[in-house]
Amino acid sequence: MNLFKTELHRLLRRRLSLLFGIVAVSGLVLLSVVLWFNSESEVSSAEQAYGEEQAAVYQAELDRCKADEGYFTDERNWGYDVGEDYPELSHAEVCDEMLSWGTDPSDHYMVYIFDFSAEGVWMLVGIAIVGGLLVMLLTASAIGAEWSSGNMANLLVWHPNRLRVWGAKLAASLTLGAVALVAMLLLGFGLLYLVAATSGQVGELDGRWWEESLAILGRTVVMGLGMTVLGAALAMLGRHTAIAGGVIAGYLIIGDLLVRLAGFAFNVKYPDLFSLYTWVGAWISGEMTLFANVMSANGEFEDQMILTATDAGLLLGAILALFAGLATWSFAKRDVT
């Protein structure tokens, strides 16, 4: 417990922690201010009149489609029977599918109205991901600095049980990460709600919204903590902050692109499976549909695959366990010079 408290204390007293804290809070405030200035709380009467006028034109076209079974085959319109692509839909339903956009006046408004119930949760997801990156860098930097300065050897002279030291460092990093991420989300929620209430619309935050939002944000926080462990593990393996940062940045910028290209080059059915972003997306959103790299004659994807959060959690967890295991083995066995 003493060692855990000391590690936590050491993390908190680092200048980088203070700097990242300031960056995070400033970023949230800046985002809110920009959003507040760009969002309108209501549509002007002129804008509303224009929207209604345009919506009426689009509605008339939709009505014309529904009244005319040969609408799509008419050369003046689409020129071929769109209904063949949707054998399960009636003609009216195909018209709705193809022509319903524009029939709502809001489709034609040129102003932006921030809708908290629709956009808030994804903005909070972005905030949590940025927060996770900051905590990952902070953890990797703390451990990397201990190695490069020689302070790790000093610490081990006091605490020769290396697994205990590693455990204390991980526990302290995860505690700091969890508190920081939850604090960022609470602050972000408050600021975005305030923007929506004063310069946008809050929307309906019903039970279903809360259930879905909390599930998404909960998984994002878990991913942020996983990033913390990954940063610590890479710094422990590389024994330097730059090595950990280089591996992460290198993979995210170049590595992911290369494996994705390799997937296409070898004509893999689902090349998106090779991208880490796909699995991260599936984990956060709860489900992701992948389309096969083969198209039918009419341009439709022939096959598709659904990745669930459980699938993504298993794969991402396995990757994390691999790196954490390697770091543990390396720390326990390698000489400290």
């Binding site: 300065s149 020689g150 050897a153 020769p160 010079t337």
Partner: protein, 332 residues
Amino acid sequence: MPPVIEISGLRKTYQKLLRRPHNALDGLDMEVAAGQVHGFLGPNGSGKTTTLRALLGLIGTDAGVMRIFGEEVPGRLPHVIGRIGAVVESPQFFKHFTGRLTLQLLAESVGAPATRVDEVLEQVGLRDQAGQSVKGYSLGMRQRLAVAQALLKRPELLILDEPANGLDPAGIHHMRELLQWLAHDQGATVLVSSHLLSEVQQLCDSMTIVSRGRRIVDGRVADILAGHSGSRLSVRFADNGRLTEAVEALVSAGDVSVEAEPDRLLVTGAPEAAWVTRTLADAGLYLSELTTETKNLESVFLELTGTAPQAGRAVQVGHAAPETTAAGGDQR
């Protein structure tokens, strides 16, 4: 009383791809008795720091046994680490932390009382600079801070790697008094590795000299010095023209070796100084000066480790001249 530190047959080999393996420790033996300041000497690359790192569990070894307070280490190190204070190689700290915070964090990690921090800061003479960040510390101040952290636990065994490094003369004097006080008045055992031979001569009660990962000699400092002093006599004459005649007289009279220098003779192996006087007088030669060559630790060290400089040849790290002679102390 059993030794505080016992090392037997310690081996450490560094394997490198496409290179010959390097034996940093080649069957090292060492013992450090309780309540003494023990010097650990050796040329660069002789294995001193490797030994200290192995003792403290920082590196693994390939063979050998190490015990501290009778407990085998590194396996039992967690059970005895609370009785050990140590500084290995140059002390490293987070630069932006103050000296006091650095010590507070370490004290907190082992549950030591916060008041102990001020006590050790006072002991090492850093009380007034404790609030400054470490990046503003000189090398000597960092060295003092390192010793302060080693003292935090009130250690029964203090292991210090080059503790006088970077200290000014007053600092060295202060450090010497502190370490001797800890050993002689407080009953602690102090193991000090150092290159400052004159400092070791003044500071240590006993010592071990190592070369190429092996023990060359160990014992009480006074005994080792005595074993290498008095064996060589310097003889001068009023008339240097009779030096050759004197050499012949001494060599023919007994089993001694005589080295002639332009203005004196160096006689090795004489049973006593009076024998030289008598032999020369019998030959009709009257000396003007007869002195015993008193060696300091540096000359003993250079002789034992074979690292004395030779004209036109630089001594390479970890290497020694092939013909190594040793006398005095417990030679290995």
